[in-house]
Symmetry: C2
Subunit: 700 residues, 2 copies
């Protein structure tokens, strides 16, 4: 995919000027200069410091205007109040890319925020792209270039790119990576993101041929929908795995519906990542464990795993770990079992996990691996072994590496132990074979490969918009109170969502007349924008079979509502034809500040918030996401029928879910909409929105 | 607690004889001899090998009978067919404890099983206690003694004891422990457990003064109830943490109830571990991460945690990790905030997590730690930091260690990185401060301390048996078919569980007569032992208001059942008075082969298996466990009322649950019993078993 040319200088500058380069080894300005020189960067390197002088054998200019060509990237590490002027000079010098490492901006309060606003204005004036401020910088191990001020050593060259909202995490990641034996291709600390955001950098970083997988540490995203669009493009070629932190700071806004109460930032991020095809890691450790497997393994074709081991305990541990992550143990073909039987001792277990026994030789490891890889029922292999009593773990590693390299299926290795297995670990790392100390982490790496394959489908899927919006009449929400129910029903009708006919009666007689018109039995519901949960106040009466019952019911319901909420503005009583019985589900949508409308599906009724049998997706929905929402809830699974519960019209539910999603996507000023219940009739007979609740933007 | 004196020689022998000691360094018999000598064991060491000779400067006797005093423990490593004879000679020589390392017994098939049976007989004849066969042996780093044949080096002395069903895991654990910087007090590989089991060894290992925590790798337990009894005793003094593997090999027996379908070996193990006060680890890594914290930290008083850091990202990561494990971030007192403000720079965050900023000095770390530890709202502290830019991680470690040592609250440390932080790690390890590389693992360690505090309550709780069993009349189940429903209702009545009165009618007239007697409305249910899910076949009719309806209903129900299951033996139709409406729950019990009766509580109805809103406990129940079962399900939580759902008689449910648990515990031949629904009436009005299903031992 094309990348923004204004971002090119960051990773491939012709010349770099360090503004704030320092002689003093205890200063970050020294560290930055030192790193850039040590990185073996092949372009021009210039230093600027108002004090002038010389540093690392080069002159220090007192002003960026004096710096000779070539220079197209500035790395700025001077006190915050002086940054704007320095940037202005960069602009005058024709430098259009700057990394502002300096702190003292938005992160320290309103004073700093003003300074940040100022540098952004300068940047706009001179069309300078900014990374930072308050960031650690960036590096590319292959170009190479290092504009960070982190204490050396930097990372070894590798194929995982890391983009981070936290500078402190960058420092730790470089150290973890060295210790755990994997390299990084690029590392980028974004700081306050005054200009360049995580989303801007996805395509440029993915364009690097050395980068095979992108790992992101996110505290949020700046523009949710753009993030999804960019990420969706990237993941078609290269996997993205993200750790999104700040999970528990959910907003506390007032909500009027179950959907509003249950939806949150977390459900939105999960839906957004799925939509974008981005893997979500739960922990930092997991992110890099899985990034290695994503970078080094061929794509997997499925979730069936063969386990090879030299001991019973590790085999059981591996099987547990795999199954708890939703992977499956392969069933071997007769041919595989026969072939294994020919090379293994009689007491070996030829079923999966294959226990080759403690006596297993390196050759038996290699040959058994070749045999299980050849089985068409095997999609992936996990090899797990403690140091064999008679051989070194290193000799096993050396024997299996060529087989792993020639395989077109993922193989991960769990070498159990720590000090006795160092030789094995080093061979495996050098050969780019993902290796772990524990079965559970190896299993999680395989699970990430399977998830990656499934997410590719998500990233390919296009959202469904079955309704021509030009045909939808404009609906103007009153900003001061709940939208009139009749309007809501019209809106649903316009989107092809069947509703129970409903009329507002303002007297017992009128209610009886409506009932006569629409046919009994009918239901009565109190009409008041201020009573959200009508059944809580006794404001609902069902199955009224004749006009007399409707008249009495009208009075009764009015009286109950008045005594429960004397202040409420009561507009009358809705009369609605009763729908035949069927399964009931809830569907709703709520706007997320970051990603737009989220859609919810699940078990409805009054207990939805307690039961939490619900799933979220991002509007508009794709077919695969709508299907997932149904299948991941009991409410959705039982639409196919269960025991004496007959099958219901599942297709109608899918259709209505997709249409509601489009409605929510088309109406961003519609804060919340909820159909509860959606009554699902028997197969082929459709589904009907029985009750609808709506909250438009600006409502109290 | 007293320990079995016959097991004393295993960990504290006067003299050890190695039967099968070998000159050949490639043989395990050499490794064992070498380990025992190298271990610096202070008792007598003797070697036996039929070939005789000398080894490591000692004579090799050709027969154990020749071995001089003192000798009270044999370690046997000769081929399986010769073990029985060697054991016999041990018996004759007066040795009453033997570790059989040799393989070739039950694990290789029926031939080996015969040999194992034989050695067990010899052992019984001479009152010899056996560990193994097919085990790696055992070691004690403090005595010291090492009777394993694992390649050196062995573990460093420490305070975690490890008992394992897998030998291969022992080898890996020793290596992990060395690499991760913790020591072991004892290690014990149990092998085939022909005689001594994991349960036998709990008390003897816990009696070791150097052991502070017991870690178990279990593939099962031999005698579930005895395991619980022994473990409950041990955990009052010393925590036990167990990794139980083989989670996914659940039995596939035929079941007749929802409870039977939902209960499994896993739910039984979970309930049993809770009952015994044993922590359950999910992974090997987690087990030892947490074992260290359990060994080294003072007990915690609660779940509130203060987080200290020098950077924003790690603070957020820590907060996420803590909250996702159910821990809480402390709210600091004004005094704490003031004190922190006095020593930290103005831009520091004084809320929790405390961000001391990248400039934080070792003294600021130490002083801030002292301040938050003094806050009464802080139960635990997590310190998380990447290497500070201006100081070494080691200097931070040195500064905080004295504060941690003087604290009576747990403090765990996450030092982020790998190679740059080695000095810090070594200081912390030497000081017995639990340290981790990642926030998530440090948080899990604190969660284990909290779980330990809660499990102590479980281990103290005594089961409730409110019913005098002598008052319960004997009930004889027919072995060939479902127990008569009237008997079941009598049984429930005997245990004080209220039921809906129910009579078996064999004609429409008789049904009508019963209805007149008990009062309408009534329900009719088909009476057939072969129709388990009566409503599936239309075998249930509700709310019949008069005798005429009962007569028609009788015919109707009979006809439906006959057409659905023409072969079923139909005994008539049950007539039952309808119970007033109320919340409905399911309670049931099912026998587990290992642990006896498990009790289930949850959301009932026909959808119980789909909804899975259920919890299990071990019968008989303790009060705390019954409370937990209610609170961990939506069905239980909503008994307190929710929205327009009125509060129901929660106390009655607790009482009935406890009574049903006793019933199940008293009747091990009762395979399954299930009340579905238990109708729960409004507060103070009790609860009634509306329908009951039962399956007795031996039923088809």
């Amino acid at each position: 995919m094309p990348t923004d040319p204004s971002l090119t200088p960051f990773f491939n500058p012709q010349g770099v000027v360090i503004i704030g380069a320092s002689h003093d080894p205890s200063k970050l300005g020294y560290g930055l200069a030192n790193n850039l020189i040590r990185s073996n960067y092949q372009g021009a390197v210039h230093f600027v410091n108002i004090k002038g002088g010389e540093l690392l054998g080069r002159p220090i200019y007192t002003n960026v205007l004096e710096v000779p060509n070539p220079v197209d990237l500035a790395a700025v590490l001077i006190p915050a109040p002086f940054v704007a002027d320095a940037l202005r000079q960069c602009g005058q010098r024709g430098i259009q890319a700057a990394i502002i490492g300096s702190g003292g901006f938005r992160e320290v309060g309103p004073e700093g925020a003003k300074l940040e606003e100022e540098i952004l204005q300068v940047a706009r004036q001179y069309r300078i792209r900014l990374i930072g401020p308050n960031c650690i910088g960036l590096l590319d191990t292959h170009l190479p270039i290092d504009t960070t001020f982190l204490p050396p050593p930097g990372p070894t060259p590798g194929d995982v790119a890391f983009i981070s909202h936290s500078g402190a995490i960058c420092a730790a990641v470089i150290d973890w990576a060295r210790g755990q034996g994997y390299g990084l291709s690029r590392l980028l600390s974004l700081g306050n993101q005054a200009d360049v955001s995580e989303t801007d950098m996805l395509a440029p970083v993915a364009a690097d041929p050395y980068t095979r997988v992108l790992a992101l540490y996110l505290e949020g995203v700046k523009d949710g929908r753009r993030f999804i669009d960019e990420a969706r493009q990237v993941v078609r070629d290269k996997p993205i795995i993200a750790l999104k932190v700040g999970r528990f700071k959910s907003g506390q806004r007032a909500v009027a519906s179950h959907t509003g109460a249950l939806a949150g930032q977390e459900s939105a991020y999960n839906a957004a990542f799925r939509r974008a095809g981005v893997l979500r890691a739960e922990t930092s450790e997991e992110m890099f464990d899985q990034a290695r497997a994503l970078a080094w393994c061929p794509p997997t074709k499925g979730r069936r795993v063969a386990v090879l081991t030299n001991a019973g305990g590790p085999g059981v541990t591996a099987a547990d770990a795999l199954e708890s992550l939703g992977l499956e143990l392969s069933e071997f073909s007769g041919r595989t079992r026969t072939a294994l039987g020919e090379i293994l001792p009689p007491a070996a277990s030829l079923l999966n996990p294959v226990d080759m026994l403690a006596s297993a030789t390196p050759d038996q490891f290699a040959e058994s691996l070749r045999i299980v890889l050849a089985d068409p029922g095997v999609d992936n292999v996990m090899i797990i072994f403690p140091t064999p009593p008679m051989f070194t773990a290193g000799s096993v590693a050396k024997a299996i590496i060529p087989v792993i390299h020639s395989a077109d299926k993922p193989v991960v290795v769990a070498v159990m132990g720590e000090r006795l297995i160092q030789e094995a670990v080093e061979h495996l790392r050098a050969a780019q074979v993902p290796e772990y100390r524990f079965a559970e982490r190896a299993a999680a790496a395989l699970a990430a490969l399977v998830a990656r394959a499934e997410l590719l489908e998500y990233a390919q899927a296009e959202p469904l918009m079955p309704v021509q919006t030009s045909e939808v009449f404009a609906l103007h929400f009153e900003r001061s109170k709940e939208t009139k129910t009749s309007e809501v029903f019209s809106l649903l009708k316009a989107y092809g969502i069947p509703t129970a006919k409903m009329e507002l009666a303002q007297s017992p007689d009128e209610a009886a007349a409506f009932a006569r018109q629409m046919g009994t039995p009918v239901a009565l519901k109190i009409a008041s924008p201020e009573i959200s949960h009508k059944s809580d106040v006794g404001g609902v009466l069902l199955s009224l079979g004749d006009e007399a019952a409707v008249r009495t019911g009208y009075e009764e319901i009015l009286q109950r509502a008045r005594s429960a909420q004397p202040q409420a503005d009561i507009q009358g009583v809705y009369v609605q034809r009763m729908i035949p019985s069927g399964q009931e589900v809830i569907i709703g949508a709520v706007q997320d500040a970051q990603f737009g409308a989220q859609v919810m599906f699940g078990s409805g009724g009054t207990e939805v918030e307690g039961l939490k049998d619900i799933a979220f997706g991002l509007a508009p929905l794709t077919q695969i996401e709508a299907e997932r929402m149904l299948e991941s809830t009991w409410a959705g699974r039982k639409l196919k029928g269960f025991r004496n519960l007959p099958a219901a019209d599942r297709d109608a539910v899918l259709e209505i879910l997709i249409r509601l999603a489009q409605l929510a996507a088309d109406h961003p000023d519609l804060d919340e909409i909820e159909i509860n219940p959606l009554r699902v009739l028997p197969n082929g007979q459709g589904a009907v929105a029985v009750d609808v609740r709506i909250q438009a933007a600006g409502c109290p």
